[in-house]
């Protein structure tokens, strides 16, 4: 499947219908997710602020997933010199930055009433901030070098080095004593949150995932068109 889609022509044919389909599937998850999220009872400790969880946690999941995608695409771009992988890497970085920023802002809005502070330099929050800076750094590096091939290679190396931050984000709440709560979903022994919260959270998680997929496919299509236009401009100028 992946090898087949490595062909830009096949990818454009596939993504033409896959991107809107992913968007529709995202809506099919997000609408009931939002509905159930607002219908859920208030948490006995956190009160109504628990509703922020349904938008904060999926944003945090997708920010990490987006960086893993950036790392994977950068690997294929760097090792196999694959143009479509480079286009996919360039396309995913702004989405990753946006989801990470959403995780940081909504987390801050959740933290203020729960912890009494907007921000604390604990390991989880700091490592997520580093994740955001890695996305920004990736985009800045690509923009700073005129030669697109060199820019892509330099940024791919940065993206691969930055992969070390992913396990730090994931396990920061286990390795250090953090104000941020420990893992309560993806843990040995299963989730520890009540089903009434877990179902809307899962729906929102899948909704975010498919929305991210739709946006990434469409942005990669835009990048393929941009490169095609650049090549044609060069031919026209020659």
């Amino acid at each position: 499947m992946l090898a087949s889609l490595a062909n830009p022509h096949r990818f454009m044919g596939f993504s033409r219908w896959a991107a809107p389909l992913c968007g529709l599937i995202a809506l099919a998850f997000l609408i009931p997710g939002l509905w159930l999220g607002f219908a859920a009872p208030e948490d006995y400790q956190q009160g109504a602020t628990v509703r922020i969880m349904f938008i904060h946690v999926p944003a945090a999941w997708i920010s990490m997933f987006a960086y893993a995608c950036l790392g994977g695409a950068s690997f294929f771009s760097l090792v196999f010199r694959h143009a479509l992988a480079d286009a996919a890497a360039r396309a995913v970085a702004p989405l990753g930055a946006a989801f990470t920023l959403l995780a940081l802002v909504t987390g801050s809005l959740w933290g203020r009433p729960e912890w009494g502070t907007w921000w604390v330099w604990d390991a989880r929050l700091t490592s997520v901030l580093v994740l955001f800076l890695l996305f920004i750094g990736y985009m800045a590096l690509r923009s700073a070098i005129d030669d697109e091939t060199r820019a892509g290679r330099a940024a791919a190396i940065l993206a691969l080095v930055g992969l070390i931050n992913l396990p730090i984000v994931k396990f920061s709440v286990d390795w250090w004593n953090t104000l941020h709560q420990g893992e309560s979903i993806f843990r040995k022994g299963g989730p520890t949150i009540a089903t009434v919260f877990l179902i809307p959270l899962a729906l929102m998680g899948f909704g975010y995932l498919f929305a991210f997929g739709a946006l990434w496919l469409e942005r990669t299509r835009a990048e393929v068109w941009r490169r095609r236009a650049r090549n044609l401009e060069a031919q026209a100028a020659a």
């Binding site: 938008i55 203020r112 942005r219 835009a222 068109w225 044609l232 026209a236």
Partner: protein
């Protein structure tokens, strides 16, 4: 929802809605712009 936490919950949802709106609009406009540009050049060059 009109309780003491509304000042935190609604801004969180508003920021998220704005973030998604930006991602969707920027993505669609970018795709349309470059597709049109490439197609115009293809016509111009007879490809």
């Amino acid at each position: 929802m009109a309780d003491k936490y509304a000042a935190f919950i609604w801004p969180a949802y508003a920021v998220t809605a704005l973030g998604f709106a930006w991602m969707v609009l920027d993505t669609l406009l970018r795709a349309r712009r470059w597709k049109r540009r490439a197609e115009a050049l293809e016509r111009e060059l007879g490809k």
